[in-house]
Amino acid sequence: MLYINCPHCGMRSQNEFSYGGDASVKRPSLNKEVSDQEWDNFVYNRKSLRGKHLELWQHISGCRQWIKVERDTSTHEIFRTFKADEEVAK
């Protein structure tokens, strides 16, 4: 079970969180014309990375905040966690 550092609450076990997918996906702005390809990339197309992955988790059984977690998908090592509005430097 992963041990996740919630930037709001501190170290908590994985069973307090729910997974939310790739954090690098940006929703196209409202009312903006987008091509089919662009929209499909947003809704469906995801890379199944092996290695460092920035992903979303929600602390649903805690502060209910969505957070960003930088995790290695093969070793499960967690490098850093961020608040929802924090910019993530590469």
């Binding site: 079970m1 041990y3 967690i78």
Partner: protein, 998 residues
């Protein structure tokens, strides 16, 4: 029965407490502190089971967790448990156990015929033989294999025992209480670290209980006892025996199974049987020791052949002689230690040492005691069927390839030692890449992957002095990092006998002309010849060889067989062992009861049960409940001998003619507040929200980004910046997360807050033509006329002193209202409604009537909004704004979603107006078409229309828009029904929606 093999004194058992027990129906005696294995051995019982494949007689091989043979069926506390290791099961008064895998009895086992057919049962036999014909598999092969496979029998009764889970955090977790564990724990505890020390056996001390050493001028055993006493007294230390750490998971989470009651005749009241500990540790010390490995020789599975360390443990811990004429077969000094113990207890052992001329302090001691030692000698084969009677021994050449002349010598047990294998399972589970250590012919942990540190024998260190030195140091340094305390602990003086190098010898060649089975895996009956076949047939990877032969795949997971298997493969393949590599170690280290893993989450406790504040009233009024997500809701209120169908029809009819009341507390409720709330709702829902006035409700549909309907419900503007959103019961949690996602991540600039208020409000839906009359009496001071409170209106009112919210919304399609009060007054509200409603012939109605009412009105619910439908499919496209953007809008342009013949909701009526259509039935054009019959749609919900008194269903049908009036068939192979049907409008009752506005 007398305990004929119990020595007069000695051992750690309590001779004042005699216990009786039964094995295979026969009564025996043992002492408190015995295991089932030691008590049976004390009584001279060596035959305890039959092997898995050949049904060969099985005795005891080890004295603990590594035991491959002595697996029994245990009867305790009115329950039965399979696959219990007799070497781990502590004796208690009245214990009952039976042998497994034998019929009719362990002494005469019919399955043993496999032993004579073994030439036909080589590795891969099942794979090769049961291939064809295909039809034979289900009828003949599978039932046969299932009957023959497996050891014990699982109970089919409900397990009455209780199992608990516990979460714990600590600075240092220490797995094993041998010398390294004690030293590490002590040093860490002295630095103030929070320490958990776990020992799988009942007694602490590990190898110190049996070894002949001296620490700080005390015997090893006394030193261990002192350490444990001191540790137990420290407030920062938790010491647990009977507790096996069996898994090392991510981020230093380890799981431990504590046997709370297994050693007692009955589980104490309010006690669990087992307790599973989830422990998050900052640092982990792995002091799991090592397991002696066997040397492979002919018939080495005969009862009476056992590990030399086990023989020593039976003698020193339990005071039991495993034989009176022991033969010790060794390639290292450990065998000598066992022989010396025998000799000290008046038994004359013979030592066969594969080495030519070994020299050490231990060997000198054995020589001085006058023990008969034969160097460069091996056991070629054990003789005897149900018990060792003699051994064929021979000298062996220096290159270990040639046997000398075979001699037969009498013996009643063969104690074998092929050196020691570090227990690296936990380290390997943590991700540690292990490395092969030539000096000890075994794998040891490599660089730490997580925060694990292996100590002592588990790290391949077999000298006690070195073990203590490094373990005190590790415990001190790791704890210092955490607590920043440094209390140096003086390392005690150690006296131990020096041993000499072991012989790299593990398998005795077959004598000329002999075809003895030489077993590697004792539980799964994998012999040297099986591995040879696998390699001959082209299996190369050790993982494939394992699966083909089942080497190491039994319940003991190859604790005594893995390394010898690797040695064999490396020898045949002409590779070094590290190049062959070992198979992956996965948790659990030892079998864990399913009950312990499940814990308290059984039956109703698999999820929380939520009840509305009106629940007690429902119970008193004969409600029959149904699970709705985590909620319990009344399905119908039973009157007299009514069944579900009759009751729901009565309740629904009463709504259509008089008035009914339904508990809708379970609906999800979310408060949406803030200056940007209207804008937010406008983006979340498909329809327009900016112009909704205060005091009005609106029905809304929300989509996922892929265009699929996520949920529906009404949202009411309570005040300028305050909206009350309702969701379906099932989707409440998902909708809240969905809203939070957009507010926190996508549109953080919106000044809006959302919070669940589901449990704050109790709700009652009052529906039916007489609902307004009732409402007027409930709220005499409020204007609830059609003008004062029109359809989709909202008002706040006073319910006999309780503040209430009234929403004029309808799910039933009738004139209807929903009244909310704070939960504490839910029951008060309900009783008032029933009391005052009496004159209007009010009846409560349950979810079944609720469904009937909404189905015949064509209102969609979860069965239509099933995660596969877009607004058009459920006739909700009128609510999709063309002007504004919202979540999921762009997806609705997909060609599949705009196709002319897109699926759409329709009504379905059986032609005979009698036959109810099972939900899930497929709609097809031709009932006689060959399978697979092309499916045009499916029945999503069915009811008995109380309006027309005939069955009515909703369906999602391809090209539904143009199918009204068509005749099709509803097919339900499950219910074996083919029903001719007609397609009608989904709005079966009141298609213009006049009633709700009346």
């Amino acid at each position: 029965m007398t305990q004929g093999f119990r020595i007069e004194n000695g051992g750690l058992i309590d001779r004042n407490k005699k216990l009786s027990f039964k094995f295979n129906g026969k009564k025996y005696f043992g002492y408190e502190g015995d295991t089932l294995a030691s008590a049976l051995l004390a009584n001279g019982v060596h035959l305890v089971g039959r092997s898995f494949k050949y049904h060969r007689p099985r005795g005891f091989f080890g004295a603990g967790v590594d035991e491959p043979y002595a697996v029994v069926q245990l009867y305790r506390n009115g329950e039965t448990e399979p696959n219990i290791k007799a070497t781990e099961q502590e004796l208690f008064e009245g214990l009952e156990a039976k042998s497994v895998n034998c019929w009719p009895s362990v002494n005469f086992d019919i399955g043993a015929i496999n032993n004579f057919l073994k030439i036909f049962l080589p590795a891969g036999f099942y794979y090769k033989t049961f291939m064809w014909p295909k039809s034979f598999w289900y009828r003949i092969y599978e039932p046969f294999i299932r009957k023959a496979a497996g050891l014990g029998v699982a109970s089919i009764d409900h397990d009455k025992e209780r199992y608990e889970h516990k979460y714990e955090y600590c600075d240092l977790l220490i797995a094993g209480s041998g010398p390294s564990g004690l030293a590490g724990a002590y040093a860490a505890a002295k630095n103030g670290a929070k320490v958990i020390l776990a020992e799988d056996k009942p007694r602490f001390g590990g190898s110190l209980l049996t070894s002949d050493v001296n620490i700080g001028n005390q015997s090893g055993k006394d030193w261990a006892e002192g350490m444990i006493t001191e540790l137990k007294a420290m407030p920062n230390v938790v010491v647990k025996n009977r507790s096996q750490i069996f898994g090392y998971y991510d981020h230093n989470m380890l799981v431990m199974s504590e046997k709370v009651s297994d050693h007692l005749p009955k589980t104490k009241k309010y006690h669990p049987n087992k307790r599973l500990w989830y422990i998050r540790a900052k640092e982990v010390l792995i002091s799991s020791g090592s397991i002696e490995r066997p040397i492979v020789f002919g018939n080495n599975d005969t009862p009476g052949v056992m590990l030399s360390s086990a023989a020593k443990e039976y003698l020193k811990v339990y005071g039991v002689l495993v034989g009176r004429k022991p033969l010790v077969f060794t390639n290292n000094d450990s065998g000598y230690e066992t022989a010396i113990e025998f000799k000290k207890h008046g038994v004359d052992p013979i030592i066969l040492d594969t080495r030519k001329n070994p020299k050490s302090e231990i060997i000198d001691e054995a020589k001085n005691l006058g023990i008969h030692i034969k160097n460069s000698y091996v056991v070629a084969a054990a003789q005897g069927y149900k018990k060792v009677k003699s051994a064929d021994i021979a000298s062996i050449s220096d290159d270990k390839k040639q046997l000398g002349k075979i001699e037969n010598i009498q013996c009643d047990c063969i104690c074998v030692s092929g050196f020691w294998t570090p227990t690296i399972h936990l380290a390997s589970q943590s991700g540690n890449k292990t490395k092969f250590k030539e000096e000890i012919d075994a794998f040891v942990p490599g660089t730490s992957k997580q925060n694990e540190t292996s100590l002592g024998a588990a790290n391949g260190i077999f000298s006690l002095e070195e073990t203590l030195k490094t373990s005190f140091k590790a415990g001190g340094e790791l704890s210092k990092k955490i607590t920043e305390n440094e209390n140096n602990v003086a390392i005690p003086n150690v006296v131990e006998k020096k041993s000499s190098q072991h012989d790299k010898f593990w398998c005795v060649p077959l004598p000329k002309g002999k075809n003895y089975k030489r077993f590697l895996d004792f539980q799964n009956d994998v012999a040297v010849s099986d591995i040879e076949i696998a390699l001959r047939e082209g299996y190369r990877s050790i993982e494939h060889v394992k699966r083909y032969t089942t080497l190491g795949m039994a319940t003991d997971q190859g604790k005594t067989s893995n390394l010898n298997g690797l040695q064999l493969v490396s020898e045949i393949e002409n590779k070094v062992v590290p190049a062959v590599g070992h198979t992956t170690f996965r948790p659990p280290y030892t079998p864990i009861s399913i009950g312990a893993i499940v814990g308290r989450e059984v039956g109703k406790h698999t999820k929380p049960t939520r009840k509305s504040p009106i629940h007690t009233w429902h119970e008193k009024n004969n409600a029959v409940f149904v699970d709705a997500g985590v909620w319990l809701r009344p399905r119908y209120y039973k009157r007299g001998n009514e069944n579900l169908f009759e009751a729901s029809k009565r309740e629904a009819k009463n709504v259509r003619t008089n008035v009914g009341v339904c508990d809708v507390t379970t609906l999800g409720k979310i408060d949406v507040k803030g200056p940007d709330a209207a804008e937010f709702l406008n983006r979340v829902y498909t329809n327009a929200w900016l112009k909704l006035p205060v005091g009005k409700a609106r029905y809304g549909v929300m989509l996922r980004e892929d265009g699929i309907v996520m949920d529906d419900g009404t949202t009411t503007r309570i005040s300028e910046n305050h909206y009350h959103m309702t969701t379906t019961t099932a989707q409440a949690a998902n909708v809240l997360s969905h809203l939070e996602y957009y507010l926190q991540l996508v549109w953080p600039e919106l000044n809006v807050n959302v919070v669940s208020t589901t449990e704050q409000w109790a709700g009652a839906a009052i529906a039916g033509p007489k609902s307004r009359d009732l409402l007027q009496k409930l709220f005499p001071n409020s204007d609830v006329s059609n003008e004062g409170l029109p359809f989709m209106g909202y008002t706040e009112a006073d319910l006999f002193g309780v503040k209430a919210r009234i929403f004029r919304i309808s799910f039933s399609g009738e004139l209807a209202y929903e009244v909310n009060v704070v939960s504490d007054y839910g029951n008060f509200m309900w009783e008032k409604i029933i009391e005052i409603g009496e004159e209007f012939k009010i009846q409560p109605y349950g979810t079944e009537a609720l469904s009937t009412l909404r189905i015949e009105m064509g209102h969609v619910a979860g069965s239509e909004l099933d995660g596969r439908t877009i607004p058009y499919d459920t006739a909700l496209e009128g609510l999709v704004s063309k002007k504004k953007d919202f979540i999921g809008k762009r997806s609705l342009q997909k060609s599949a979603f705009t196709a002319e013949d897109r699926q759409r909701i329709v009504g379905v009526v059986p032609i005979d107006k009698k036959t109810s259509i099972p939900e899930g039935s497929h709609l097809v054009k031709d009932a006689k078409a060959p399978l697979p019959n092309p499916k045009l749609g499916h029945i999503s919900a069915s009811c008995w229309s109380v309006e027309y008194d005939n069955p009515f269903s909703l369906a999602i049908l391809k090209n539904g828009k143009n199918m009204i009036g068509e005749k099709l068939f509803a097919m339900s192979p499950l219910k074996n029904k083919i029903i001719p049907v007609e397609i009608v409008s989904s709005h079966y009752v009141d298609p213009k929606g006049e009633r709700v506005r009346s």
